[in-house]
Amino acid sequence: MDIISAFNYPVYLAIFICIYGCLAIGLNVQWGFAGLFNAGIAGFFAVGAYTTSILTSSDLPDRLGGFDLPVPVGILGAMILSGIVAWPVGKICLRFRGDYLAIVTIGFAEVVRLVVRSEHWLTGSTSGISNVPRPFGNLPYTQAQIAYLALTGGILFVAYLLIECQSVSPWGRIMRAIRDNEGAAAAMGKNIPFRRLQAFILGATLMGLGGALYAHLNRGVTPDAIDPMIASFLIWIMVILGGSGNNRGVLLGVMIVWIIWSASELMTDQLPTEIALQAKYGRIFLIGLMLQIVLRFRPEGLLPEPLSELRIRENKDSPPRDTVS
């Protein structure tokens, strides 16, 4: 019995690592390959989680949906809708310098949060959506967890392979060229805003996928599950610490950051309840600090993108220049 429960925790951790892996690879497509700073990851995550919940949960009288559709349809729908909402966001912002995308994606995530909290007919507002089916949910707990891990692990592996193929393809090379030298890429006749939009949408679909896997794991989703900044930040740190532009590095970053984050939770759980609030926000403070430390001491990440060291050095030496569009 003890052996099995000791086994349960690592499995639980591993499932989350796979879910965060999807989100982080999605961000890597946007930031690592295309240099787009998406500060509203939680927004796309929420769109994915709620879409699949609405599509696959069973019927309820006062709420849209409960279409009782199969899980794969739900997941696919989540990815498609995340991509669709990414389109106008990207379309409006990608003409400008990077800060505007950051601002608008923050706004997007806030609007998603407002909708999730206010529109009862769509999202069940504060009570959220429950009775979302869980694949292999009928098995005993341990087997169900392992089966779900196999499922998320498989999906992550496929996503990783597909993105890896993309990134070494001509498409990937063009993306990097745009990121590193926009002027030269434009002079070669590349349609930069369109390419960036492609990367942005592709990344968003992977974030929607992460959200969907999360909803099925928990058999539902509530607004509290999408604390906008914390989720977005963890993923940021995973990508930058691991090595933006390198999928393997990013997955390493996911593992390290998620294990540290979970371990810190185990530790703060031991603290007396009087300081539980302080402990909770102390952990959040540490996330912010961790990002600063990575930016300061290891901006290229643990497993840097090949050639990226050169890129960082060049950026350091050349005089500061702003992209003016």
Binding site: R313, E314, D317, S318, P319
Partner: protein, 235 residues
């Protein structure tokens, strides 16, 4: 005449690659020295090296007996060297008068004497005092840029292509003003595309090729030297 600015065997560049491969030159009080040469020879880079805007990996820059190699620009300005870059050389959002005031940022107290001196050198600017400098013509901009650099009474003035893009009339005017400035005791080191005209009006000249100085002499000597003329001045 003793040199006030001595550049000795300078090497360096913007990144890892060296653009300057051992440049040496001297500038003395009250003379105009022109740097000419083909594109990419490192003419403007020499000025940036003097002004602390470049990674210097070898050699030294001596100003009035002090080694100023690697100093930051505001210390170099304080020491008495002012620089007029080729582009972005005025504050386009500020008035003419404010531009001059920024040129004298390091000097506190009453600036009226300095203003009078600059407006005396550049009478064209007098009527434009309160005009936002972005609306000035090309020639007036160049005058303002030089005026800004002269506000601190520098001992050496570095001019990077002061006549680029100007009409012949303005070019002549800038050259004439440069002579007037020289006659007040300021040494001028300038980079020029218009090699022949520059050598004709300068006291001395250096010809740069591939990051080293190939020839130097008085302006007239360089102009009449056949090998120089054939190779660098277009026959």
């Amino acid at each position: 005449m003793t040199a006030i600015l001595t550049i000795k065997d300078i090497r360096g560049g913007y990144t890892e690659a060296d653009i300057l491969n051992g440049i040496s030159m001297e500038v003395s009080r009250g003379e105009i020295v022109a740097i000419v040469g083909p594109n990419g020879a490192g003419k403007s880079t020499v000025m940036k090296a003097v002004f602390g805007l470049l990674k210097i990996r070898g050699g030294s820059i001596d100003f009035l007996g002090t080694d100023i190699t690697g100093w930051s620009p505001n210390h170099i300005v304080q020491a008495g060297i002012c620089y007029v870059p080729q582009v972005e050389n005025i504050f386009t959002e500020m008035t003419v008068q404010e531009n001059l005031e920024m040129g004298a940022f390091l000097r506190r107290g009453d600036l009226s004497a300095a203003y009078d001196r600059i407006y005396g050198l550049f009478p064209d600017l007098v009527s434009k005092r309160q005009v936002v400098s972005g609306s000035l013509s090309g020639g007036q901009r160049q005058m303002l840029a030089m005026g800004r650099a002269l506000m601190l009474d520098p001992k050496v003035l570095l001019l990077d292509e002061p006549t680029a893009g100007l009409s012949p009339k303005y070019m002549e005017q800038i050259f004439q003003i440069s002579r007037n400035i020289r006659d007040t005791g300021v040494a001028i080191l300038l980079v020029e595309q218009h090699a022949k005209q520059a050598l004709a009006f300068s006291d001395r000249g250096y010809i740069l090729v591939a990051g080293t100085n190939r020839h130097h002499g008085t302006g007239q000597d360089l102009l009449t030297d056949h090998s120089v003329a054939e190779m660098f001045l277009g026959g």
